[in-house]
Symmetry: C2
Subunit: 565 residues, 2 copies
């Protein structure tokens, strides 16, 4: 008897599992059950379809049911919903949404690839016309048909996560005035720390995105035709003709729950490393399951197309008698947000601290290429490591330059439990059109090593701002050149200019016992200055991590001559 | 007494060691001895200075002696040559090239960062005017003053290594007719295997570079003014007004040898992992030392600015009483060659086989972005792994797309002894503007896993070409679409077209016992077809690694209708 494999869900994990199963077993009877019309939809491309970067929806529909049948001899039942699993009989009850008839399908091995559903908050007006989520091509089509012919002028996005920000770009590119409302105090709150987020927020504001941070949405109001026309937040009212709810997704676990399969504490279907559920004949993968976070060993939800595809291969192998494991994920994320490439991996500082780690961090501005190679763009690297042993816990790399490469290096390093010592000496590919002799990652690792060895001592920009705000008595020492000072500077009564090249000669002009916090443009000069003052017997000297490049607050740009020191 | 640290060599490792030493020890007396006029010259940027991409030589001279003195309190003796080391007296004899006076300088710790010198073959005419090497800014200046005002029309580059190919681009951009002569059978012979090199050679020929491979240069001829006007090879004579010798570099070890320090079998100064020479008070780093290859554990020469900078930090730490180690290198290399990004890391297949490894490889064409995201460019991934355990040994990634990212991931993976199983599941950052849900690296790792498990069986393009040439009786089965066949195809009497979508229906038309080698555009369809034929009881079916995308030989593009099968 040929093995009967039934796969529920046809977006990413499901078709991948089916195709892999076929390549491993030419005789198996393989069936995909999908409630939508389409198979293998590239849902990650939806924001680009809305923006028009991807012109035709056909480009997102790569493989139809015919292809699966002709090439892979896989039966695909579209517009078919799985209603219930009879585990004892090994049978799934299905409903044909076209004919409204139910039937059953037998399995030897069952695969749940039921995906996830956008979270819809229980708010007044959530069902108004013009209030969207974005997880299906039909939703993208509906949004596009509203915005592409320029019928409307304003849009409000609820949630500053990855999809929220990708859609902020997509809708802005369609010449809409876009507001983003986020309950937490920064964009990408689940992914970035404050400074990395603030660095991105500057760019979003440059692109005229109206950011409303730290405020919850309380409801939506509509016009007399039932179309949304207002978003109400705790602090504001926003006129709008379109609302996108982008506050996250929830795993689709109904079928699994009803069948008595174990659900994890995260809310995803519990699976072992073979992606087997609590029933050994039922596998599950993609957005509907929980994953192991390889840094903490804890379970997390990580709904991503890349993970779903990897799951699919593992499942395809295992349902045909093979033995493959999926190790886990790192929470790696990347998004193009206007001209910035925003990436992160592992734990952010707040996540690491919440998980109980004693951390040391670095915040290092750098360039994607060698500094002397033309048109190189900036990137901002933040690394988080365990203080005691230098073990990397995570990284954030944000900016207009090539951040994807650095994130992927960090993802690979984290997969192997790398320390900052390891990272500092990895033989990364070097030539001027690709990086500096020392990559920004090397520098960021070395800053942490310098902190560990006690050579470098730093405050974060947030810590410096707090000292300024509370009127602390300290010297905020700017060691940039007078020309840089004239162009822009941190205005504060604690602020003083003393260019690095004059520092050794003018040591006597600084009080040896004062608290001194040094900054420059990127902290290279500031660290140098800190070491000079250390060597000259100054007692309490630090520099500011990331310096002006990472400063999230206002800079004064009013032109004036630098003061004599 | 403050420690006296003397550093010989002021290009990369030397200044880095000095700066690090200063940051670790504010009291030490630090002196750099440099025979040239300039310090911290970005020699890796020289090809871009010749091409004009970098406009001013000042951009390559970032830090002068004044900077070192004022900011770091480091004494720099330029135009000063170290003549001899008296290890017993801990003293270096130096010659001021300006005054022609000798003197001595005492050290507690000495650092040799003497760099390397381009190899000049002992050929007739090597001293003619117009015959250059490229390792100094003065040489780049001299070449630029010849080519930039368009005084000459032709140039010949001897050696198709990294500098040779970077300069082929630089000189072509100055509208010269450029020939490259290489003794071995392919470009970048020390770095790439045949197929990767051939893929790059197609691009070089598109850019009108005249490649003369597999022939040695036997001499140069000059005109009556002593300027070179001809290059003679074993097979050709080339008129030219400029010759660039780019056949490699040799470590500068004279000082070390004369002082009785141990020299390794590679010809570089022998150092331990602390970068200490056989004299514990003398450290050495940069191009003049040998490194450990982290894949094989063997010693190799790896003259690169990135390695030199890492060495510098390790040495700066250690000469000031710290304890830091340098683990080794992976032979990672990258170069921009016209519109291609050419990277490699670890061992190539021939290097691995020469080192005694039983290898399994994959050759996988892919796209830098998601296939549906616009303007993505192709990359070609070759992976080399140990057959028995899947341990990665090396990789080559070449093409117009983003290869640097993939090389850096491989470098990181190789640093930790990764297997293809590890690589296949690394949580790399995914979004459509950056890659596909499965990165080309994941696919390339999976192809090797498929070969290991026996599912995939392949011949390389070279093996297929050899079978065609020797008139073997087999079927070269093209499973692309008729439209693709019309556009271009491999013309051979063994060639047959049977599109994948028709394959299951027309299985009877193929002889079950014949040897069948399948190809398509990228091998995705070919592998699928191989599994279909396997399942149908065909006895001897393989696919061609990399398919048409990797085919290094001629394709027929004469338009004709596909034959009925």
């Amino acid at each position: 008897m040929n093995k009967k494999i039934v796969i529920i869900g046809g977006t990413a994990c499901g078709p991948k599992a089916a195709a892999r199963a076929r390549r491993c077993d030419q005789q198996a009877q393989i069936t995909i059950v999908e409630q939508g019309e389409n198979l293998s939809v590239a849902t990650c491309g939806l924001p680009y379809y809305v923006s028009g970067v991807i012109d035709s929806r056909q480009e997102l529909l790569t493989r139809g049911p015919d292809f699966f049948k002709e090439v892979m001899n896989i039966d695909v039942l579209t517009q078919t919903r799985a209603l219930a699993i009879d585990r004892k009989a090994r049978r799934v009850e299905i409903l044909n949404l076209g004919t409204n008839r139910t039937s059953t399908i037998d399995y030897d091995k069952l695969v749940l690839a039921t995906g996830s559903t956008p979270t819809v908050p229980d708010l007044k007006g959530k069902n108004l016309e013009g209030v969207f989520t974005l997880s299906k091509i039909e939703e993208a089509q509906a949004i596009r048909s509203l915005v592409s012919p320029r019928r409307i002028k304003k849009a409000v996005i609820i949630g500053a996560g990855l999809i929220g920000l990708e859609m902020a770009e997509a809708l802005t590119s369609q010449r809409l005035e876009v507001s983003v409302v986020e309950a937490l105090d920064r964009v990408l709150p689940a992914l970035l720390d404050f400074e990395s987020a603030a660095y991105l927020e500057k760019h979003l504001r440059e692109k005229r995105v109206n950011l409303l941070l730290g405020q919850r949405v309380t409801g939506f109001e509509g016009d007399d035709k039932g179309w949304v026309d207002k978003v109400i937040t705790e602090k504001a009212e926003l006129e709008t003709s379109l609302v996108l709810l982008a506050i996250g997704v929830q795993p689709n676990t109904g079928l699994a729950k009803d069948a008595g399969l174990e659900i994890g504490t995260t809310g995803g279907i519990a699976v072992n490393q073979h992606l087997q559920t609590s029933d050994p004949d039922i596998y599950a993968g993609g957005d509907c399951v929980e994953n192991v976070n390889l840094v903490t060993g804890q379970k997390i939800l990580a709904p991503l197309g890349s993970t779903a595809n990897k799951h699919g291969r593992v499942i395809g192998t295992n349902v045909t008698g093979g033995d493959e494991s999926f190790p886990g994920v790192l929470g790696t994320s990347i998004a193009k947000v206007f001209d910035y490439n925003v990436g992160r991996v592992g734990l952010s500082q707040w996540q690491a601290e919440k998980a109980g780690y004693d951390v040391v961090t670095s915040l290092v501005p750098g360039y994607e290429y060698a500094t002397y190679y033309p048109n190189g763009k900036e990137i901002m690297v933040k690394l988080v490591a365990e203080r005691a042993n230098g073990k990397l816990l995570g990284g954030q790399v944000v900016g207009p330059g090539d951040t994807a490469k650095r994130i992927d290096v960090l993802a690979t390093a984290l997969s192997f439990g790398a320390t900052v010592d390891d990272l500092a000496n990895i033989d990364l590919a070097y030539a001027p059109p690709y990086n500096s002799a020392l990559d920004p990652l090397h520098n960021a690792a070395n800053v942490i090593r310098n902190k560990q060895s006690g050579y470098a001592r730093a405050l974060t920009p947030v810590e410096v701002e707090n000292k300024l705000k509370s009127g602390d008595d300290f010297i905020l020492l700017d060691v940039r050149s007078p020309g840089e000072w004239e162009a822009y500077r941190i205005e504060a009564h604690q602020s003083r200019l003393l260019p690095l090249r004059e520092l050794r000669r003018k040591l006597d002009e600084l009080p040896k016992d004062a608290e001194i916090v040094i900054f420059c443009q990127t902290s290279v000069r500031a660290y140098q200055a800190q070491r000079i003052l250390d060597g000259a017997g100054f007692k309490d000297v630090k520099f500011m991590d990331g310096s002006i490049a990472a400063w999230p607050y206002e800079l004064s740009t009013e032109r004036k001559a630098p003061p004599p020191f």
